[in-house]
Amino acid sequence: MEQGLLLSAMLFALGLLGVLVRRNLIMILMSLEVMLNATGLAFVVAGSRWGQADGQIMFLLILALAAAEVGVGLGLALHIFHRFATLDADSINEMQG
């Protein structure tokens, strides 16, 4: 069980590293997916440890959250690309109304 939680923590740290290091919006969204997946893994590991179904149910809810987040996030990325002609997260730090 500790190995599962350790793997979850490592995947979460890698996802966080990706969010912080990469500047492409698509890459940031993909790293966010890795982080959400790592939290789901932690829930499933805990549910498997205690033999309860609650862990998998939390994983299902995280799955729905990830689907909604990807839909909105990719729509936002498309919008930003059409408006600024770039996907660099640093170049869109000014809001002009």
């Binding site: 190995q3 890795v34 149910i57 729905a64 839909g71």
Partner: protein
């Protein structure tokens, strides 16, 4: 035996995630991200969460990654696309992820040969999950459906300016 498989699959997952955040090309990192999600699905299977494993493969590695593929395709329009795709599809690019995916498939076959037993955790089958999902967690299911509806409306709102034909002279 199952613990060895668990460690091997964890190594594949971590390797794929590291490769994903270090690739410069979005398509290459997408390949490695799919591999990482497949590896986590195998880990769910090893932990005895069969329903979560199936959902991981179908929804995460299937549906959500298709969205990423569509957006990457839409953002790469132009005459350079054909040259770019030819460069992307060189054997050296997809050979690594394919071999690791084949390795995961071999692991799955080994698990099935061993009888599908999970030594690393207690098996929680889909019947228990379904009973709990539509019993005490009914309100959470409704909230998730509401969240998905809100996501749909938001994505449509963001995509609407691109669906309309642009008037000449109008900004954005």
């Amino acid at each position: 035996m199952t613990l060895i498989l668990f460690y091997l699959t964890s190594a594949v997952a971590i390797f794929a995630t590291v490769m994903m955040i270090t690739r410069l090309n979005a398509v290459h990192s997408l390949l490695f991200l799919i591999l990482s999600l497949l590896a986590v699905g195998i880990i769910f299977f090893l932990l005895g969460a069969h329903f979560a494993a199936v959902l991981e493969v179908i929804i995460y590695a299937g549906a959500i990654m298709v969205l990423f593929v569509f957006v990457i395709m839409m953002l790469n329009q132009g005459h350079k696309t054909i040259v770019q795709e030819r460069a992307w599809l060189q054997p050296g690019i997809w050979l690594g992820p394919s071999l690791l995916a084949l390795f995961l498939f071999a692991e799955l076959l080994v698990i099935i040969m061993l009888g599908g037993s999970a030594d690393t955790g207690q098996v929680v089958n889909s019947k228990q999950v379904g009973i709990a999902l539509y019993g005490p967690y009914l309100l959470a299911v409704e909230l998730a459906s509401l969240l998905l509806l809100a996501g749909l409306v938001g994505a449509y709102h963001f995509g609407k300016p691109m669906l309309k034909p642009k008037k000449p002279g109008s900004a954005s």
